[in-house]
Symmetry: C2
């Protein structure tokens, strides 16, 4: 009977739909649609929106218009717009685009790292030293994102020690915030708590974020379990944008609307207006020509329609 | 930091897809398809399957073949096949059909009771006295199902005292098991725990079950929260069968595959083979001509397909 576990009173929701979401959609979305989406999200009250990725358009054509998007969005005071920066070229582009935060990334799975970028985890993180230093010099926030922290499509289980090791490396590079990501959505609540607790031994818990995918339907249970151990930053994607590249046709990022509904029910403040997010979700789902993947979003929209 | 909350080691999953699920699908499913579905579920290892409703076919045409289904299914030893029995006529039919358990029902919402059956909660429960007595006489299990225990489409909030009152009435009728149902899927985890704790003051917690809908995506989080307070029986519907009659196009019953994936991850025994359930889910989704509503089911099927 856990009546005494206090949950955080406020949480930060990082909206990742415009970048992580749309990057994993088959269809490329035109800049003007992305701009409208980001603007809608800004007015909903998010303090952090992942909006761009400055990576070669050869590899990620979905993100080719990142500079255009960053130049045209309405900048709301207090909102941090984040950009992925795989290298110094990306960093320079992010700086020019006035990103408030740059995101570096690595995997907690050695097999994933080898398969995807053909180098060890340690090497892949070391490559970000230049970006990390440049971020500090220019006063940009630095976020480190750790994929496959709960399981890997190639090696299966990922040891706690491996997560802890990457968290330590990200911390040593000077990260202000570190994402613990369930890239393939396989985590369940007790495992989530074990990983988060271990990560919190390496980095202040207030700077750790939970990035969950709903591939197996577990994301909200994992978020609730994360709240129980003190995690207070979560990533989510409006309308559940983004699929799962490792299981075609399966669900990807947890939907922002579902997360906001959860937080409301728990009496946890986010500063975000769920109704505006539902509208934004309907807007982008309509553009993509499909039903949105947020259950709360669909239920609220259905209720409105009577 | 809740490392010390022990979860139940075993839980009973009541598969409600063939009745609660299919009753809420637009399309009526022929008896032979239901029979095949129930048989597949029986071989998956469920100990309890809600398979029939002996209600007027004028009101619920989807259930008109209940006697035919109950007569033709393979009876697996140790499996209880349940039937809804709104009245003595229904009870007699359930008895003749060799149901192992009869289900009576009521609402925790006065407004819902009035709107739906035009009488008070107290009156509606009292009407089941005959069925309850007959069940005892004939040695059938008696289950009481309480709808709108977490919220009502008409009155909104439902007081804890109202839930407690109905639980007490169901107990006094002699129920062996009582379902606390989130008919419209609005509950969140802390509310869930409060309702379950209150219900457990009126009835042995081992006989309380959680019936959650995934309308707002909260079902698995609520199930996890229920486990934390000791609930060890849950309802679910294969492939997420059944919509939400109060929000068209929204999700209904939580999907069995998602619940089983959660239990596996938590190391909780169910005695059920998830792979066979995934197959059963694919079978019925294919019949209905749509993608299943279970995220775990879809992910596992996608993974199998490579």
């Amino acid at each position: 009977m856990n009546s005494n576990i206090a949950l955080p009173k406020h949480v930060k929701i990082v909206e990742v739909g415009p970048r992580d979401g749309l990057q994993n959609e088959k269809e490329s979305v035109p800049a003007e649609v992305k701009i409208e989406l980001v603007n809608r999200l800004s007015s909903a009250g998010f303090r952090n929106i992942e909006a761009a990725s400055f990576v070669s358009p050869k590899w990620v054509p979905q993100m080719a218009t990142s500079a255009e998007v960053m130049a045209a969005i309405e900048r709301h005071p207090g909102v941090v717009y984040s950009a992925l920066t795989p290298n110094m070229q990306g960093f320079d582009a992010a700086l020019a685009a006035k990103a408030g935060e740059v995101v570096i990334f690595g995997s907690a799975s050695e097999a994933f790292s080898q398969k995807n970028i053909n180098c060890s985890i340690a090497e892949s993180i070391a490559r970000f030293e230049g970006v990390a230093k440049a971020a500090k010099q220019h006063g940009l926030r630095l976020r480190g994102s750790i994929s496959c922290a709960f399981g890997c499509p190639y090696q299966g289980e990922v040891p706690l020690a491996a997560v802890a090791d990457v968290v330590g490396r990200m911390r040593d590079l000077g990260c202000d915030e570190i994402d613990i990501a369930d890239t393939i959505g396989v985590a369940t609540p007790r495992q989530t708590q074990a990983v988060m607790r271990r990560a919190a031994q390496e980095f202040a818990i207030g700077g750790l974020s939970g990035h969950f995918h709903d591939t197996y339907g577990q994301a909200l249970a994992n978020i609730y379990a994360s709240l129980e151990v003190g995690i207070a930053i979560f990533h989510s994607s409006v309308s559940g944008l983004g699929g799962c590249p490792y299981a075609k046709g399966a669900t990807g990022n947890v939907a922002t609307e579902d997360v906001l509904y959860l937080m409301q029910g728990l009496g946890i403040e986010t500063g975000i207006d769920l109704d505006i997010v539902v509208d934004a979700g309907q807007f982008i789902a309509q553009f993509l020509g499909r039903k949105g993947a947020s259950r709360a979003g669909n239920a609220i929209a259905a209720k409105r329609a009577g």
